[in-house]
């Protein structure tokens, strides 16, 4: 019996290669900090939160609303973790600027994590006494129940700024952003789901697209070793590009090497 599950050898080799690249550049960045271009959506967070502070209206943050529970165990865990990184930064900025903050979540298992992240953010800002458990509102893991609750907050509490980053369902992302636009909110949206990306691109003032969501936490930290992993993923992208180009030419020439390798 083979040690490696059939059909997963190529995946394992690519995963190890990309991880090794991330690890190498993470260590290299300690002595040679990489240049990473700025992302407008992340640079705009203080502006978006500041608008809410000036108007004395709340900021609403939601880490996506994909229907279901136990999502932290599945393929959306990466997006949710990166959304929490941005959420911690938004909470810290809101605490410093004394802007009211509301965070809604559709996943019950994330409540305690969100409470911890937000409490630590307020502590870092020196405003621990301003933290309240009412900041975090859990609605429902059912998509449209969550949408209904969040629309209610947007309208009733007169939200000034709306930030949605994470795995959504296409329908609810559209409804929430459009409702926020009708309420006159300044918006930042982002997701790594390609089919849901057109909606924040169409409606929001700033957008985080695909991999920008995944790198948000590293960029907001400003830590060189974390930025090094972004540089590593750039090299991984070059490898993928090389595989794509080689695959295109070899398949058209009738040489099945690349396809056979990827099927190993």
């Amino acid at each position: 019996m083979s040690l490696i599950v059939e059909g997963k050898l190529a995946q394992l080799l690519l995963l190890l290669t990309f991880s090794a690249l991330s690890f190498y550049f993470m260590n290299r960045a300690k002595t040679k900090p990489p240049y990473i271009r700025s992302i407008a959506a992340l640079e705009a967070i203080p502006e978006v939160v500041g608008r809410a502070a000036e108007m004395n209206r709340p900021v609403l943050f939601t880490p996506g609303a994909k229907e279901g529970w136990g999502l932290m165990l599945g393929k959306y865990a990466g997006q949710i973790i990166s959304a929490f990184s941005v959420m911690g930064y938004v909470a810290e900025v809101a605490a410093r600027m004394e802007a009211p903050l509301i965070i809604t979540t559709a996943w019950p298992e994330t409540q305690t994590i969100i409470a911890d992240v937000v409490r630590n953010a307020y502590r870092r800002a020196g405003k621990e006494e301003a933290y309240s458990s009412d900041i975090i509102r859990y609605w429902s893991p059912l998509e449209y129940a969550y949408v209904a609750g969040t629309i209610g907050i947007l309208k009733k509490e007169n939200v000034a700024s709306f930030i949605q980053i994470g795995p959504p369902s296409s329908g609810n992302m559209l409804i929430l952003h459009e409702t926020a636009a009708q309420c006159g909110c300044m918006q930042i949206g982002g997701t790594a789901r390609g089919d849901a990306l057109p909606f924040p691109a169409l409606i929001c003032d700033y957008v985080l697209m695909g991999e920008e969501c995944m790198t948000a936490g590293a960029m907001l930290s400003g830590d060189n070793s974390q930025l090094g992993t972004i540089q590593g993923s750039d090299f991984a992208r070059y490898i993928m590009l090389a595989l794509l180009v080689l695959g295109f030419f070899t398949v058209n020439l009738g040489i099945p090497w690349i396809i056979d390798f990827l099927k190993m």
Binding site: M26, G78, P108, Q111, R137, I175, E178, A181, G194, E211
Partner: protein, 204 residues
């Protein structure tokens, strides 16, 4: 050797994460069993969290009713409906009795469909407000949207252009985003397993 408090969660994350990852790739029964066990623990925690979430929902709505906010009757009604649905769901056979089925088919399904209809209304509103040819890029974007509308509505014989845009531009663009997100997820996973992704509940 003493472990700092912050290092214990990092070690747990690393061990559990690597075990589950290895269970996906290696045909070693010990690793696969350990991986399944950890995933089972996670599922149990997620299932328990539903109770915690419902409890926190009760507390929040109760506070709103007690605080005499303007819409307190709506919050009170939501609490009543929540209690009724829980009671109905507990009637044997639990989860599939006729009362619960009635609630799901005649209350929840129409409400869900109504809210789903909002999506159509929202897209019309968003397109009407956003489709303005204010710049060259916006004009190209608007032209592409119009061609896609012609494709979906099968108007004026322009479906082949919309099909070409859909099959070549849209699909390849979506795949590029998926590849980029996948590579970014690997980098995020490395940062998370090594404990350097500081955004999630770790004190700075």
């Amino acid at each position: 050797m003493s472990l700092k408090r912050a290092e214990i969660p990092m070690i747990i994350t690393l061990v559990v994460g690597l075990t589950i990852l290895a269970g996906n790739f290696f045909s070693i029964n010990l690793i696969k069993d350990a991986s399944s066990m950890f995933i089972g623990w996670g599922s149990s925690l997620a299932a328990f969290s539903i109770f915690y979430g419902t409890f926190s929902l009760f507390i929040f709505f109760f506070k709103q009713v007690n605080a005499k906010v303007p819409d307190r009757m709506l919050y009170a009604w939501t609490l009543v409906v929540l209690v009724i649905t829980i009671i109905v769901g507990l009637i044997p056979p639990m989860g599939s009795n006729e009362w619960l089925n009635w609630v799901l088919f005649y209350v929840r399904a129409p409400i869900r469909s109504t809210l789903g209809g909002l999506a159509g209304l929202s897209i019309m509103s968003a397109v009407y407000r956003s489709m303005r040819a204010k710049s060259f890029e916006a004009s190209i974007f608007m032209l592409g949207c119009i061609l896609m509308i012609f494709r979906n509505a099968q108007l004026f014989g322009l479906e082949p252009i919309g099909e070409w845009i859909y099959n070549n531009v849209m699909v390849s663009g979506t795949r590029a985003i998926i590849i980029g997100s996948g590579i970014g997820t690997i980098a995020l996973g490395v940062r998370t397993l090594l404990g350097t992704e500081r955004g999630v509940g770790l004190k700075s």
